[in-house]
Amino acid sequence: MLTAHVMYGLSGCLLVALGLRTTLLHASLLRRVLAINVMGAGVFMMLIAVAYRGLGVPPDPVPHALVLTGIVVAVSATALALALARRLHAEHDNG
């Protein structure tokens, strides 16, 4: 049956696969950081789909709290990865 949480959950799986493929295959570091973020979005979508109980029904708050934590950790990791990439390119240009 094609219910909302199944649709969103399966799209989450698709986003994870899409992100992983680009992370493994793309040469540009920036694109890899983006791809890892897309993978994260896929995982978040699966968690939110699991928490969904129907329109107007209170959802499970635990996966929501996990995803909120995940979003903040993802932005910190993204910032650190970009700083590392910048340093790497600076070293490369100098050497």
Partner: protein, 332 residues
């Protein structure tokens, strides 16, 4: 709402999300890719709203699309050389060898297999009736948590330890960024129109942050959304060429960065001294303690995210003179 209309809406929304992700990852230009990624984040926020996850939608719009987008755009701006390198790599792709082709296909197949396995596990989980013990335990104990928004109750009370460690992760990441310290390009002072906008925008952002912090106790909102909104004010000030970005100087800034973890730990350890479990708030004080922790966390998150965007401590005249001195010594 009509069930069919909702199904069509879900279908279109998901089609939009997956296509934006695909377009962002497949685009040949890094800048286009980042802009598509920001659009992806915003449409994702709509999906979280659709799935009754308003807290997550707010955080996604402010952090996932907003701040990540700003970080990535700044990264593209700073590295025109790298962009060129990326393009050179892309132009190599058409005449790939057979081995390369084989690699691409096997990676694609493995990723498809992963998606299939995940889908199988997910469908298996959906087919069994969910054990509602955890949501039930939360709604039964919500009275004693000090707040009435269940997501805030989980983040700041039931699973407060996770949030403490999350703040520590944020602090560690920014320390890593500052340790690699390359002061990034300072933006030119804003023109009259942008400057006028900044004068209106920054107070509104600060007010919105305060509102989100306060409302988080009983409705969607909280320290993370508020901190990200406050950080957006800092990013706007940085883009408008304000050198100090509204941050304090020197030691006060270091204290501000550590404030979230420090206040959280101080509350947890004081409770331990008083004979309660670590971060086990007495129900009578829980609301006040959560507000204190969230206020400190909001300020720390905002300072940390702005510093992560700038990439180094903001330059005042004193530190610029110091760095010039260091550079002269290195040259000698």
């Amino acid at each position: 709402m009509n069930a069919l209309m909702l199904l069509v809406f879900d279908g279109l929304l998901l089609l939009g999300i997956v296509s934006l992700a695909w377009a962002s990852l497949a685009s040949s230009d890094d800048r286009n890719s980042v802009i598509l990624f920001m659009a992806f984040g915003l449409v994702l926020a709509v999906a979280w709203g659709r799935l009754m996850a308003a807290d997550v939608a707010l955080a996604e719009a402010a952090i996932g699309a907003g701040l990540s987008g700003a970080l990535l755009l700044a990264a593209v701006r700073k590295r025109p050389a790298q962009m060129a390198a990326g393009r050179a790599n892309n132009s190599h792709n058409p005449d790939r060898t057979g081995v390369n082709m084989l690699l691409q296909w096997s990676v694609t197949l493995l990723c498809a297999a992963l998606a299939g396995t995940l889908a199988w596990a997910l469908l298996d989980a959906f087919s069994s009736t969910p054990h509602e013990t955890l949501p039930q335990a939360i709604s039964a104990n919500l009275e004693a948590s000090g707040v009435s928004n269940p997501v805030t109750a989980v983040l700041l009370n039931f699973r407060a330890y996770d949030t403490l460690l999350e703040l520590a992760v944020l602090l560690t990441a920014v320390l890593g960024i500052l340790a690699m310290g390359r002061a990034t390009a300072v933006y030119q002072p804003a023109g009259p129109i942008f400057d006028g906008l900044v004068r209106w925008l920054v107070p509104v952002l600060i007010l919105t942050a305060g509102y989100l912090l306060w409302v988080g106790a009983h409705a969607p909102g909280g320290a993370f959304q508020a901190g990200a909104t406050l950080a957006a004010a800092g990013v706007v000030l940085h883009l408008a060429g304000h050198p100090r970005i509204g941050l304090p100087a020197g030691f006060a800034l270091r204290i501000l960065m550590a404030a979230g973890v420090a206040v959280f730990l101080a509350v947890g350890l004081s409770l331990l001294v008083m004979g309660r479990p670590f971060l086990g708030y007495p129900p009578a004080w829980a609301g006040a303690l959560i507000l204190i922790i969230e206020s400190a966390a909001m300020l720390a998150i905002a300072a940390t995210l702005v510093l992560a965007f700038v990439g180094a401590f903001p330059r005042s005249t004193a530190t610029r003179a110091a760095s010039r001195q260091v550079r002269e010594e290195e040259a000698r």
